[in-house]
């Protein structure tokens, strides 16, 4: 059974169809990339999967269960966690606090236990602090963990967004342009990190513009254009797909990773 099945999902904003009858599925342990020109509907697709916006029609099935219509925090609780295209952090907390707070779903203490600092609640927080430090070290943020998030340079902000998502211990991670704004070396490091995340058992779906990164990292690529899925396949197939080349016409060839 695939971990994620998108079944004919459509999202209309007034007269504009942002996502048009898109279907595909993702197997457990895969890295799947969603590519397409600006405005193709990639971010909207992620918002549909994570239930941040309701679809006009169609549905999302996760582990055999329909999650469309559930509130977004409930979808996150089940293990489907998204990051944001715009860098999104808790700006007035330190990097470490951001990731500690993000462990919210992992709390074993009750609300009252948390309020009265029960032994369980305290043990939780000690665990979260250790885990947060480990996640930050893994993502190369160990040295800046005491910095306020609002003072972080852009590249670090992206990584922090991923750290926050990882703290929830997702089963399916949706990364919206995780390599945006990174130079070649930074992207190489980040690509390895995403592989590492997958190797720990997290299925990854990502939206990305950096074609060379996409070609290296993905098991499967979905191509969107004007909300429609125009191709799906392994990186090698996508590279020689006529419809894809058409959609990217006018762009230099190297964008397709040649």
């Amino acid at each position: 059974m695939p971990i994620l099945e998108i079944q004919g999902i459509t999202k209309r904003y007034g007269g504009l169809t942002a996502v048009n009858n898109v279907s595909f599925s993702v197997e457990k342990g895969e890295i799947v990339a969603v590519i397409g020109p600006n405005g193709a509907g990639k971010s909207t697709l992620f918002k549909l999967i994570s239930s941040f916006v309701p679809p006009t029609s169609g549905k999302v099935v996760y582990n055999g269960q329909t999650i469309t219509g559930l509130p977004p925090h409930e979808v996150a609780r089940r293990g489907v966690v998204r990051t944001f295209q715009e860098t999104t952090t808790f700006r007035e907390m330190t990097v470490l606090q951001n990731v500690i707070v993000a462990h919210h779903l992992r709390c074993s203490a009750s609300g009252l236990g948390i309020y009265f600092a029960s032994p369980k609640a305290r043990a939780d927080e000690v665990t979260f602090r250790d885990r947060a430090a480990k996640i930050l070290d893994y993502l190369g943020l160990g040295g800046v963990k005491r910095l306020q998030a609002r003072n972080l340079p852009h590249g670090h902000l992206r990584a922090l967004g991923i750290a926050i998502a990882l703290a929830t211990e997702p089963k399916l991670l949706l990364l919206d342009e995780p390599f945006a704004g990174m130079n070649i070396e930074e992207t190489d490091v980040a690509v390895e990190m995403v592989r590492g995340i997958r190797d720990r058992g997290v299925t990854v779906v990502l939206v990305e513009h950096d074609m060379s990164a996409v070609m290296r990292i993905s098991d499967k690529i979905i191509v969107l254009n004007f909300g429609l899925k125009i191709a799906e396949g392994a990186p090698a197939e996508i590279q020689r797909n006529d419809a894809v080349i058409e959609a990217y016409l006018g762009r230099p060839d190297d964008e397709l990773g040649h």
Binding site: F52, V81, Q97, I164
Partner: protein
């Protein structure tokens, strides 16, 4: 100082669910000593001052509620409305059904909290100025409701001669003697106890994970949702806690003044609760307390300018936002920060 926070002012989430900082213990112990020993010793023979301080204590308790809604990123101008609700609950129950004040007090808090949850659920979807405007109209709406409440609220006549709180006896032992309108001292002690308990309760809240969740909502509701936080539920929790405190405060003032009218809390009062928070500093638990005591006491001392209270409050609010965006308490902390800086 700006870039790195090192557990000085606020504890880090996860330090055993909110470590107590030395400063908090010192300021809290100082406040308790001042309230329960210092003031009675110094002002015990001056009923007028005791009355002023009683007002200030409960007004800061009510503002502390507004401070909680600030922590989730909402500017709440409905606190007067919920104080009015709490006040009427106590007034009606005490005069009509002869129910003891000690039962009315928590009931008033609970009714306000319940009503807050009910109204807050849809209203808290609004943000910024939209939420502020809606809460402002709510203050007016509740006042009109009280004005037109017929036999229950007695309209503009208000409910008068509410009996003062009776004695509390446990197993025949008088724990609390009966209150009387002639002596403000018992009211003062009750007000101080309410404030001290309120401060402890809110301090626990803001240093625990719940406080961090509240602040995460203020900083980014979408991100909070994405990590599995039920944003709507926490918003309503924060808001109804705030309303609970308004209800308790409203009930106290009914017992203190022995009456309540629709005009007891108006939009001006809702704005003042907010102003106390601004003036003291939104980042500090003691902000609303400092703000309320400072303004209430200074206005009592400056009898001559009381006609211009609204004007002066307005100018103060603007001054605060322009010159002291982090409140009076930020001055102390800034100095402290500089001192620590020069040491290293």
């Amino acid at each position: 100082m700006d870039q790195v926070t090192d557990g000085g002012g606020q504890s880090t989430a996860g330090e055993a669910g909110g470590a107590v900082t030395r400063w908090q213990i010192i300021s809290f112990a100082g406040l308790v000593l001042l309230l329960f020993v210092g003031v009675p010793v110094i002002f015990g023979k001056l009923p007028y001052f005791i009355t002023v301080l009683t007002n200030a204590a409960v007004l800061s308790f009510i503002s502390l509620g507004v401070w909680i809604t600030f922590s989730i990123g909402r500017m709440n101008l409905a606190q007067g409305a919920f104080a009015l609700v709490g006040g009427y609950v106590t007034a009606v129950l005490a005069t009509r059904y002869g129910i003891s004040f000690w039962v009315c007090l928590p009931l008033s808090g609970l009714v306000s909290a319940g009503l807050g949850a009910l109204i807050g659920w849809p209203m808290l979807r609004l943000k910024g100025v939209y939420f502020a405007m809606t809460t402002l109209s709510l203050t007016e709406a509740i006042r009109l409701l009280a004005l037109n409440g017929g036999d229950i609220t007695k309209g503009a006549t208000g409910i008068v001669s509410v009996p003062p709180p009776g004695a509390i006896r446990i197993l025949g032992l008088t724990v609390v003697p009966p209150f009387s309108s002639a002596n403000p001292m018992p009211y003062y002690f009750l007000a101080s106890a309410i404030l001290a308990l309120g401060l402890i309760a809110v301090w626990r809240l803001s240093t625990s994970r719940l406080g961090w969740v509240f602040r995460s909502l203020r900083q980014n509701e979408d991100l909070a949702t994405s990590i599995g936080i039920n944003v709507a539920r926490y918003r309503v929790t924060a808001f109804s806690l705030c309303c609970f405190m308004a209800g308790i405060g409203g009930a106290f003032f009914v017992a203190f003044q022995q009456n309540i009218y629709p005009s007891t809390y108006t939009i001006a009062d809702s704005v003042n609760f907010l102003l106390y928070c601004f003036l003291g500093g939104l980042d500090y638990l003691f902000g609303p307390v400092v703000g309320a005591f400072l303004l209430v006491i200074s206005f009592e001392l400056l009898h001559a300018v009381q006609d211009y209270q609204a004007l002066i409050y307005g100018v103060l609010m603007i001054f605060c936002m322009l010159c002291l965006p982090n409140g009076i308490l930020s001055l102390r902390l800034r100095r402290l920060g500089e001192r620590q800086h020069s040491k290293t």
